[in-house]
Structure formats: C-alpha cells, structure tokens
C-alpha cells in the first residue's frame, strides 16, 4: 500500500487516515521535529524588540527611523559625494590662521564691524563705513559664500571694496572687519621671535621708522673698551717672551698679569705652558703648573691677578647708589676638577672683596665661565685716578686669612683671595691651571671677548711696562763732560716709571742717574777723559705697574 505523502505549505508531513499508523507516527514525528527546528531558528518577540532597541541605540525620536534619516540627508543617495565636493571647496587648515594665531595677529580691542549690502544689478563696488586696512583684516561673503582674497580688492584707505565682478541684484554682500591690525605700537614683550618671520623686517622698512638711539649695549659702552681687562687673551709678553718663570710675589707672568704668593717655588707660569690648543678664537693662554704637592698652612695664598687702573673702571660707580653690575667671563682649563675660586676686590677706602666660585667639571677641557658681579652700591668704591681700581684674582690655593667670604657677596670682613674650600692647584704636584679670554665688562650679560689689534693691546700694556732703545755718544775734550739725549716713550705711562738698563755698551763714561717723567727720560753720561765717550744700544726698561 502506498503512503499518502501530502504535506503542509511549509512541507510538514501530514498523517492520513489511509496510512498505516506506524507510517503516520513517523511522519508526525518528522513534522514535529521540522516544526521545532523552525521555531527554534526564529527570534522571539522579546528578542526582536531587543534588536530594534539596539538598532535605534538611543537615537532621538526625530531620527530613529530610516525614513527620518533619509529626510535628514536630503533624500540624497549621493550625500557623501556631495559633501566631499563641498569640502573640496574649503581652504586647507595649513593655509588659514588658527584662533590662537588670529588672536595674536589682530590687536585685541581694535575696531570690529559687520557691514551688510544688498546689491543692485551688477554692483561690484561697495563703500565701507569702517575702514579695513588690508585684506587679511576682512572677511567677505557673497550670499553666504566666503570669498577668497583674490576675489576682491580694497582701495588705499580701506574704505572701498571692489568685487572681481558684478553681482546680481539682491545679492547679499557681507563685509566683516575683523579688527584692524596696526592700531599703534605693540606692547613691550608682545612681539616675539616667532611673530617675526624671516625677512619680514628689512632695513628699508626700518629706515625712517626707527631712529636708532641706543644709549648703551648691555649697560656698557656702545662700542670699544668694553673689556676693562688688558691683555685678557695673554698675547703680550714683553718680559718673558713665552719663557717659563718661577715667580716671586708681584712678578709679572705676561703683561698685566702677575703672581701673588706666600711661599716661593710652588708653581711656575708661562704663556702657552703645556702647548695645548687654546679655545677657538684664541692663540694664547697663561698657564700655571704646580711644582709640588703643597699643603696650605697659616695664611697661605697663591693667585694670578690683574689690577685695573682706576681711570678705566671708575665709570661703574661702585661704592655709590648709581653702581652698575658687571660680569666677568673667561676660558679656563685644569687638570683638576671641582669648584675653583677667585675674587674681585677694591681698596679705595678699605678692602672690599667679592669672592666667586666656578666649576670645572671635566679635566683638561676648556670651560667657558661667566661670573656675575652685583652692583657694589655700599662698598668703599674704586679710585678714579691712575691708582689701583679693581683687583681681579684667580685663586690657585688659599687658606687662613686668604680664604673666606660668600661667593657673589661683597664683604669687607677680609681680603679673601678665594672662598674657603675651593680647589688648591698648588696642592697637587704637576696640576695645571690655564686661563685666557678674560673679560670684565659692565652689565649683567657676558658678551663675546672684545678683540683688539695687537698694536692696540701692546700700547695698552706699554702704559705700564715698556722697553725703549737709547744711545748717547760724543767726543769729549776732557774728563767730566756731560752729554745727554732726550728719549720719548712709545706710550705715555701711567706714572713716572722706574728706569733700569738691561743691555748696551758704555765707553769712557759713567751712566748718570736718570731723570724720567711719564712721557720720557734724559739719557746722560759723563766722560772719564777726552776722547770718544758713549752709552749706546741701551735697552731701557720703564715700569709703572700698579
């Protein structure tokens, strides 16, 4: 018997009265299994509701259906392309000012105004009620579309705007004056370097605008003689010509730089000692080398110093309410590291000292040092004549009365060479201390080392020390006759110098005592007998050091 194989519309197998019961049972089981599988595969109402909720995801009621979204997009199937094409018309961010830049570019509080015009037919020229100095100072729209600056121009007074072409009648032209720049000089410290583009300020623009009335540079002279130190680069060495010396106290090492020491033979000194390469821009330095591992004791003090003449430093007005600050700068190198010391001192009415410290972090490496010297308003001041003005000292080791004070503070408590605890160069056998580029200048900022010609520097040194050639010769007719020549110094000296002779030849005569002045001397001999009498090829050393 065949089975009635009919099914429902969804292909569920149906029983049939003509079928065997067993067959229908199977068919019903299959139908129930199929129905169960279908039901299992479908969402429940709760699940469907949740899916819809998730889809809406909190969107506002006005935009929670596809139709509402479509209407919001203008029913534009090409909305993305439309928006992209509109964005392409906008200026790139790199070509416009940010708000911060605009705030910086335009003067706050300056005039801002909005001017709206309804154009007549083909109108292109519009008269502005608020002047706009330049195009970047205005925003121009035509029917709401921002116009690039190439689409309009301004007249010289900024009161007339002309569009590149006429616009139809009824077109809305809006001009927004953003706040005009150049409303007077900017406030101090508001014009920073980033605001000055390269080449933005030319000499031509400055000409006639700024009268260069500068009262000083860094509080000091505008030009020339900024450096109160003479022979700061150690070029001039008239006495030793580069030879090493083991100095006595007060002995000069190179011109204007002398040794001060309480114990002999603890260090030697020489221009370019050790033959190391000087700092860039320099050809010489003064070097001191320790000759032993000396332990400081008592009131020991070792230093290299220069005394600045009062005439050359009095303008700093130290010791008065008008005292100016100063700054000391130099290049230094040592085989030792640590905190080194020195001092600035004046001696007009009493000894006033400003000790200072500086650090050398790397051994045998040139280090540039600047030392600020606060205005010495309440010190004893400096002499204002040809006597001692200011002492500049670099300590090589001091203790007892020679060490003390607070770095950077003027004191009259003691004549300190360097602060306590600073490096003792003489304490290490073979230790080196090299220095050059020494500059003392008015102001609070160290400027580059002042370059002077060799001739200028030599002349400055000759005010204190110079060697002059002198000769006198004559045929005496008898003993006791006197012959003399006048010799002028190359440079007028600081004071009447001490005179000594270092070489030459004398025949049949006696060198008489000199009668020097600050400008020269009389070279005089007395004959011993009749005949050729002379004192020739004499090198006369004139010394008027401080």
């Amino acid at each position: 018997m065949s089975i009635d194989d009919r099914t429902t519309n969804r292909s569920y197998k149906l029983p049939n009265v003509g079928n065997f019961l067993a067959d229908d049972v199977v068919r019903l089981r299959d139908a129930l299994a199929a129905i169960d599988a279908d039901i299992y595969a479908r969402y429940t109402k709760l699940e469907v509701d949740q899916l819809i909720t998730n889809l809406i995801n909190g969107a506002p009621g006005a935009l929670d259906t596809l139709n509402e979204l479509a209407e919001a997009l203008g029913d534009d199937a090409n909305f993305a392309a439309t928006v992209a094409s509109q964005l392409a018309l906008k200026a790139d961010a790199s070509n416009v000012y940010s708000k911060a830049e605009s705030d910086a570019r335009y003067v706050q509080g300056s005039t801002q105004a909005e001017m709206v015009f309804i154009a007549t037919a083909n109108q292109s020229v519009f008269t502005l009620t608020t002047a706009v100095i330049n195009k970047p100072s205005a925003l121009v729209t035509v029917d709401g579309v921002v116009q690039p600056t190439s689409e309009y121009s301004l007249n010289m007074t900024g009161t007339q705007l002309t569009l590149s072409e006429g616009v139809p009648a009824g077109t809305v032209v809006r001009v927004l004056a953003l706040g005009v720049a150049s409303q007077g000089a900017p406030a101090d410290d508001t014009v920073t370097t980033p605001k000055l583009r390269d080449g933005a300020v030319t000499n031509e623009k400055l000409a006639g605008v700024i009268a260069p009335t500068v009262s000083s540079i860094n509080g000091g002279p505008i030009s020339g003689a900024r450096n109160r130190i003479i022979n700061g680069d150690m070029r001039i060495d008239q006495r030793n010509a580069g030879a090493a010396v083991t100095p006595n106290t007060g002995q000069y090492l190179v011109d204007r730089w002398r040794a001060q020491l309480s114990q002999a033979s603890k260090y030697s000194a020489q221009r370019n000692a050790g033959a190391v390469t000087p700092p860039a821009g320099f050809t010489n330095y003064l070097g001191a080398t320790s000759l032993s591992a000396y332990t400081l004791a008592g009131n020991d003090q070792f230093s290299i110093e220069q005394v600045i003449e009062g005439f050359n430093i009095a303008d700093l007005d130290w010791g008065t309410a008008n005292a100016k600050p100063a700054v000391l700068s130099f290049w230094v190198r040592s085989s030792l590291t640590g905190t080194f010391g020195g001092s600035i001192a004046t001696t007009k009415t009493a000894v006033w000292v400003m000790p200072f410290t500086y650090s050398i972090a790397s051994a045998n490496t040139w280090t540039y040092v600047t030392v600020s010297i606060p205005a010495a308003t309440s010190t004893g001041g400096t002499n204002n004549d040809n006597t001692e003005g200011v002492y500049v000292r670099f300590g090589l080791g001091s203790t007892g009365a020679g060490a003390g004070g607070t770095a950077g503070t003027w004191t009259s408590a003691g004549n300190y060479i360097q602060p306590s605890g600073t490096v003792s160069v003489v304490g290490t056998n073979g230790a080196t201390f090299y220095i050059t580029g020494v500059q003392l200048e008015a102001g609070s900022v160290a400027t580059p080392f002042e370059r002077r010609s060799y001739g200028q520097e030599l002349a400055l040194c000759q005010r204190y020390y110079q060697a002059t050639n002198a000769s006198v010769r004559s045929a005496a007719t008898a003993a006791g006759q006197t012959f003399a020549n006048s010799v002028n110094f190359a440079v007028h000296m600081r004071a009447t110098p001490t005179i000594s002779l270092s070489s030459g030849t004398v025949l049949n005569s006696t060198q008489n005592a000199f009668s020097p002045s600050a400008s020269g001397f009389r070279h005089e001999i007395s004959s011993h007998a009749a005949g050729d009498s002379y004192s020739i090829d004499r090198t006369v050393i004139a010394t008027a050091e401080l």
């Binding site: 040809n386 006597t387 007719t477 008898a478 003993a479 006791g480 600081r494 004071a495 009447t496 110098p497 001490t498 005179i499 000594s500 002779l501 008489n512 005592a513 000199f514 009668s515 020097p516 002045s517 007395s526 009749a530 050393i541 010394t543 008027a544 050091e545 401080l546």
Partner: protein, 76 residues
C-alpha cells in the same frame, strides 16, 4: 732690599740698578717709602769725581796741539 741716593732726584735700587722716581703713584717709590718707615736709611749718593785741573800741556794734548805747533801758529 737696599737703596742709594743719586745726584739727581731718583733713588737707585741697588739690587737691579733701577732708578726710582719720587712719584707717589710709582709703586717702587711707595715700596721705598715703606722701607724708610721701617727705619732704614739709603746709602748716600756717590760723590762725583772732581774735575781734574789740567796742565797747559794736557790742555794742548786734548786739543791735538804741541807746544811747537802752538808757537808756529802764533809766529813765535
């Protein structure tokens, strides 16, 4: 350090034969004054050698003349 007076205004520093002017701004002169204040005294100035009195013959010799030449010059 010792000093010696001279026939002029300067003071001779004997150690290095340096002539020191009496200028208060000269540091060597300042050192000399300090040396004096310590109670020291400079050596006196050297007495200049007296100018010798020349004989007639010595004067003629200095002039490069002999007695005979002088007589001949005056026709004696």
């Amino acid at each position: 350090m010792t000093y010696q007076l001279t026939q002029g205004a300067t003071i001779l520093r004997i150690a290095d034969r340096a002539y020191i002017p009496p200028d208060p701004a000269n540091t060597d002169f300042q050192a000399y004054l300090a040396w004096l204040e310590e109670g020291n005294q400079p050596e006196p100035a050297p007495v200049p050698e007296p100018t010798p009195v020349l004989t007639t013959e010595q004067k003629l010799e200095a002039a490069g003349l002999t007695v005979a030449e002088l007589k001949e010059l005056f026709g004696l």
